[in-house]
Symmetry: C2
Subunit: 247 residues, 2 copies
């Protein structure tokens, strides 16, 4: 038995998210991968992922692992799979790892980007990869708001309602704000992320940058531990899982 | 009566091209615009464009003009139309011009870009905006090939078969080759372009850069005035109409 670790990319627009699900409608990334891998390797394959991205969220560096009995040479896996996959899912790299490696359980940190376009009118090209905010954002306020969220906090207010986890405490090593004219990118690097956490933080920071919410409102949300105290969940298309870190 | 000139953008993926057509299937940009403008201004509106982009070709700076009896303030036109248009068509700018202005007849030059990705494996994100070439392109050969096509030539070999025009002579002011790692952009600036001309030139230059065709083959194609002597038509998704020039 071999354990294969893979870095994959996908355009999440036409998928219902990463996780396998039995409901009808658009497929999940997981079921698309499992179906294809099972066909390619002539055995039933289960895919484990570092994170379960939501419907419409993209990935450039999602990490998965799967077990196979196949002895296909490692260097053939990427071209064989990419040839069979739909255009919006791509394998970037594979390697063979010890049997105990698990993409989610072994992950030490993740890096996400959130893309915002702040022009008065939207663009027609690339619209599936950013969130358009028409009103002018205040850069200084956005940066100061981001600073307040860095560090180790209970992020319960910044987590989708109904999420069941052991603890809501996570460490955000940094939120970096990058700007080129009307194009903004928020970089999030942390040891773990709760459900919708990056998108709720982004929605809250946008409120601050539009002066709809004070900087103090961020501290109030952190302290209050109640989803109602934070801003709206920013839409999925601006979000990209860039990379996952392992020991 | 007012004559309105507009700069528009579109993602051509889900359209059958610019031109109005009665056939079934995906709509054209022109019919989408005419339907919307006629509804917004409560009168039948005809749209004239600088160029008829093909199915799947994108635009960042297509220019159109249309006549209207409406006295809507100029500054309201862009937000009103963008609010009603599908997400993949956007009005960037409008101005009122003399009645004799015609987007195609008055155009002095056009600027196109063609995007190529030359990585060993494709990317999942943004795939609708570039042509993926897996084999390694030779930069020097591509640049030298491009130089041979600059200037004033009879481009009959680089024009879709069956095109009826008065003359196949056009002037290509330049073809600039830009490269950033695996991402290539070919910039084409000329006084006019025949049907499929940019895509056939691109297909031919790719042949040269893959050593499937000699540099001499380009001169032979130019001299021979026969579509069969040039390369394949590169696919539409890499092409963008960037801007149109007027006196």
């Amino acid at each position: 038995m071999r354990n294969i670790k893979a870095i994959i990319q996908y355009d999440g627009k036409d998928y219902c998210g990463f996780q396998r699900q039995s409901k009808q409608g658009s497929p999940s990334i997981q079921e698309t991968l499992e179906k294809l891998l099972s066909q390619a390797f002539h055995e039933k394959i289960t895919v484990y992922s570092a994170g379960r991205t939501d419907s419409g969220v993209h990935a450039l560096g999602q990490v998965i692992n799967f077990y196979t009995k196949s002895n296909i040479p490692l260097e053939k896996i990427v071209p064989v799979l990419n040839h069979r996959l739909p255009e919006d899912i791509v394998f970037s790299k594979v390697e063979e790892v010890p049997l105990e490696f698990h993409a989610r359980k072994c992950a030490l940190g993740k890096y996400y980007q959130y893309h915002i376009y702040n022009g008065q009118q939207p663009t027609a090209i690339g619209r599936r990869y950013y969130y358009w905010v028409a009103q002018t954002l205040d850069e200084e306020l956005l940066r100061r708001g981001a600073k307040l969220l860095e560090g180790t906090h209970d992020f319960r207010s910044f987590c989708a309602k109904g999420t069941s986890v052991k603890t809501f405490v996570r460490t955000l090593y940094y939120i970096r704000v990058e700007r080129q004219d009307d194009w903004w990118t928020l970089h999030f690097y942390g040891n773990g992320f709760l459900r919708h956490m990056v998108r709720i933080i982004t929605g809250t920071l946008i409120d601050v940058a539009l002066k709809r919410r004070s900087l103090e409102g961020i501290s109030i949300a952190l302290d209050g531990k109640d989803r109602k105290l934070a801003g709206k969940t920013a839409p999925p298309q601006g979000l990209v899982l860039k990379s996952v870190y392992y020991p």
